[in-house]
């Protein structure tokens, strides 16, 4: 589960990770109030207004602005709140900004130059352990750094038996070229960050940038936090952090029906049992001359209720010109699925697009017979090849 910057920073702070302080607000009036409060608390003169959407690239898209006085705080929050923010990760339609974070300005002058760094923690799948990645190229897109100057990325793998050790945190801080107070601060920062990562069951922390301030403090200016969905059962306090306005409305509806659905841009909808076969079905649609409109895994319990919910969600997508149902019956019996399809079809009424139902496995022939004798505008297929040919035919 992805969460917002302000939510991620709250988690970090609760584990003693120093952050750029801020207050999240919904209106320009609240923004001014928040700015006053921050000045009283931190002494900051200027403020940064940051759009709270999950997508990256907010600054370039005009979603992060510096305000030098309270009038500017009001004016710039007004510009950002409610805007349709377009970044390289939002797609061309952009994302509506509902909240802004009013943050202290941490780049002020002092005894040394401020400098930005990059720090992340994630799973190394190959080694089955966590890895800390760090770079002196703070503020840059890490994938670009990895491509052009891979030598500038420092990696430290964490032994699951003992966790992060002191020498490892020191190694990273030295490799970033730090010394004196800034070095000590960075070691503390890394230790607290790793503790936060493990104890919150995170899947990814990306702190970009980590800032060394002009008075040699180390703090998180941004926080991209992804939490392990499978561990939510032991983090009841994280459940409300989900922001459904960040998700596609159809995906929200699907998850409420226990369907695993991902909206895509194509013209052929699909409904499949099993994640691997669902992906493979999308691939077959493409090879048959269509484009998949979605990923949809109905899981092991493909019955009239789940099929009907699936139909309703797929049909809400106006791009869909045909639907391919692909079920391999193992434990699930194909004749039951076929009855489910017919019942769901009748419950919905007239479905305006052709439907191809491919049933294979347990009672496949009986299933196909139920479909063929239903009198509905539904084509049956048994082999994957037949199904692919049918898709090509209905799109022609």
């Amino acid at each position: 589960m992805n969460i917002h910057e302000y939510q991620g920073k709250d988690i970090l702070k609760s584990y003693g990770v120093r952050i750029q302080e801020g207050i999240v607000v919904d209106t320009p009036a609240q923004a001014v109030e928040a700015a006053r409060e921050l000045t009283a608390k931190t002494g900051t003169g200027w403020h940064v207004i940051k759009a709270q959407i999950h997508a990256g690239g907010r600054g370039k898209g005009g979603g992060v602005k510096l305000a030098k006085n309270l009038d500017e705080v009001r004016e710039k929050s007004k510009q950002i709140l409610g805007m349709q923010l377009i970044t390289h990760q939002t797609g061309p339609e952009g994302k509506k900004v509902n909240k802004v974070l009013i943050a202290e300005d941490v780049y002020g002058p002092g005894v040394s130059e401020p400098k930005e760094y990059y720090l992340s923690i994630l799973l190394d799948r190959g080694r089955a352990c966590n890895v800390i990645m760090a770079s002196t190229e703070g503020g840059m897109d890490i994938e670009e750094v990895a491509e052009h100057t891979p030598e500038k990325i420092i990696k430290e793998w964490i032994d699951p038996r003992v966790g992060l050790q002191g020498f490892q945190a020191r190694k990273v801080a030295f490799a970033l070229g730090l010394s004196g107070d800034a070095f000590k601060e960075m070691v503390k920062f890394i230790n607290a960050l790793y503790k936060a990562y493990v104890e919150s069951d995170a899947s990814m922390f990306e702190i970009n940038p980590v800032l060394k301030t002009s008075d040699n403090r180390i703090l998180a200016v941004d926080a991209k936090v992804n939490l392990d969905d499978n561990a939510m059962f032991r983090h009841a306090d994280f459940v409300p952090l989900r922001d459904v306005t960040e998700e596609d409305p159809l995906e929200v509806e699907a998850s409420a029906n226990d369907l695993n659905y991902v909206k895509l841009d194509g013209n052929v909808g699909c409904m499949v049992n099993g994640a691997g076969l669902a992906m493979a079905t999308m691939d077959i649609i493409k090879l048959s001359g269509g484009e998949p409109a979605n990923f949809l895994d109905v899981g092991g319990g493909a019955n009239a209720k789940t099929v009907e919910a699936g139909f309703r969600i797929i049909l809400k997508d106006p791009n869909v010109k045909a639907i391919l149902i692909n079920i391999f019956g193992g434990i699930v019996r194909c004749d039951r699925v076929a009855t489910g399809v017919v019942e769901a079809y009748k419950a919905i009424g007239d479905i305006p697009v052709p439907i191809i139902v491919r049933l294979q496995g347990t009672n496949a022939v009986e299933g196909a017979k139920i479909i063929d004798e239903s009198g509905l505008k539904v084509f049956s297929a048994i082999s994957l090849k037949d199904a692919a040919t049918r898709v090509t035919e209905v799109l022609a």
Partner: protein, 292 residues
């Protein structure tokens, strides 16, 4: 001989008396699998499905001599169940459970290192040696004893491949469902290696997904090993978008190496017969074996 499990394997079921455990234990028995008992903490001493129930895996092993365990324990307790099986001396641990937190699996995988056992899964359909032994949830009737081994991250897509191989007259030795999670016990390469060294297996089907580097690792090994047997490969998710999790916890494109296209290119370069449509698995294997 096939691999991992056969007619002599003695199987216990962890999570035996739960609904999933009961249903599939019954199915496994009906297939002829030698289920010798089960474990449900607190229910030791009772009988379930005409088999003894034990409180601990250690009790079950000492009484029955079990060497294989299948786990149907809920996600919150499944990593613990894996470690208990390893500690009790189980040789092949097959974990079906989907939804185990990654943090728990990091610990469990580390714990079993150096112990004399192999973990298959989690989040997998299990292991099936055709017409001998079913330790998992695969539908038995689609299998036919034969000469092709299967390694797959996915459940129903495995059944698809099995079905095509049966219809092509080739049949199967052992199908290994390795699982769709980011951390799994046995990698694609390790499973392919088992089948490559199995005298009864004449060809291998390798089914992968977007995400991670396991298929590339397996492909490089197949080539370094001298392409001793034909391998037919498929990667699901050629049309999957970047950064979205496609059902399985591990099926997500992070970097460029995670894509289906990148994996297929490496597999092709390593001499694997790559199919772009999963409908072509059976026929391609026939051609690769020179039978068509």
């Amino acid at each position: 001989m096939a691999v991992l499990v056969n007619k002599d394997s003695k199987i216990i079921v962890q999570g035996f008396t739960g609904s999933e455990g009961s249903f599939h234990a019954q199915q496994m028995k009906e297939y002829g699998t030698n289920v010798v008992g089960g474990v449900t903490p607190g229910k030791g001493g009772s009988t379930h499905l005409e088999r003894p129930v034990f409180n601990t895996v250690a009790d079950a092993v000492s009484t029955t001599g079990a060497d294989v365990s299948i786990i149907f324990v809920p996600p919150a307790f499944a990593a613990d169940a894996i470690m208990e099986a390893a500690d009790a001396g189980i040789k092949v641990i097959i974990c079906i459970t989907e939804g185990i937190p990654t943090k728990d699996m990091i610990v469990a995988k580390e714990y079993i290192q150096g112990k004399n056992c192999r973990l298959i899964g989690p989040n997998c359909p299990g292991v099936m040696t055709a017409e001998e032994c079913k330790v998992g949830i695969m539908p038995g009737f689609i299998f036919k004893k034969g000469k092709i081994g299967i390694v797959s991250k996915s459940g129903t897509l495995t059944y698809e491949a099995v079905d095509q191989l049966t219809k092509a007259g080739l049949g199967q030795t052992t199908a290994i469902g390795i699982g769709g999670d980011p951390i799994i016990g046995t990698t694609t390469k390790e499973a392919v290696e088992l089948l490559m060294n199995d005298p009864e297996t004449e060809g291998i089907v390798m089914i992968g997904e977007i995400g991670g580097g396991m298929e590339a690792e397996a492909a490089h090994w197949v080539k370094a090993d001298g392409n001793r047997k034909p391998v037919v490969g498929f990667i699901a998710g050629q049309t999957a978008p970047k950064g979205r999790r496609m059902g399985h916890a591990g099926a997500i494109i992070g970097g460029a190496d995670d894509t289906a296209a990148a994996k297929m290119a490496i597999m092709e370069a390593c001499g694997i017969h790559v199919v772009h449509s999963p409908a072509d698995i059976g026929e391609t294997m026939l051609k690769a074996l020179g039978l068509k």
